[in-house]
Subunit: 117 residues, 2 copies
């Protein structure tokens, strides 16, 4: 089985650096494909393909303006990621109760282990 499709969810979609760069660029405002392509330094078709993925997972929206297509941020799809990752915040912020217990438990096990080598 290969890796899950990039379009299977936002986690997979934002794993690609260029797609993250696109989202960052869209923070300022809507942008046409050509602008994004030149900013990223990749081809127009390449940019369109990345935008296609972001669209499939609902991280951007498009609207037609004349002969251009303006892509805009649809950030709601990032919220689940933020929440999932946020669930680990307590573990990278030290000085937290559960972390203390955790460490104590480790030390207990280490004792029944031996010590230095």
């Amino acid at each position: 089985m290969p890796r899950a499709a990039t379009t299977s969810d936002a986690f997979n979609a934002i794993a690609e650096p260029q797609r993250r760069a696109i989202l960052t660029l869209l923070k300022a405002r809507e942008r046409p494909v050509g602008y994004l392509a030149s900013e990223l330094g990749i081809t127009q078709p390449g940019t369109s393909k990345h935008l296609r993925v972001l669209r499939d997972v609902g991280l951007v929206r498009v609207r037609q303006v004349g002969q251009r297509r303006l892509y805009g941020l649809e950030a709601q799809g990032l919220q689940p990621i933020h929440e999932w990752v946020g669930g680990f915040e307590q573990f990278w912020n030290e000085s937290f109760d559960r972390l203390n217990e955790y460490v104590k438990e480790l030390q207990r096990e280490e004792q029944s282990d031996g010590g230095d080598g």
Copy 2:
């Protein structure tokens, strides 16, 4: 060019659901491979492979205890993700100044566009 390696960074590593499940399981405490495998409902080698990826990107650590290897969370690697995604929070939280300006700008462009069809 294929997709970037799953071991290239935390973004790629956590794109895989089973690996996220592993990290979630490790919140409670360190666990041996066998436990994780049975919880995930996948094989031991499969579990080891996922753990290898997580280890390569620094999201878990191992320590040998007897003949078992206890894997534990190393959540610091998730912090950059949290920060990157957090940079979009203002865009999924409506009622924000910049978002208001954004919308106004859109409406201006829409006017010079025409109207309904």
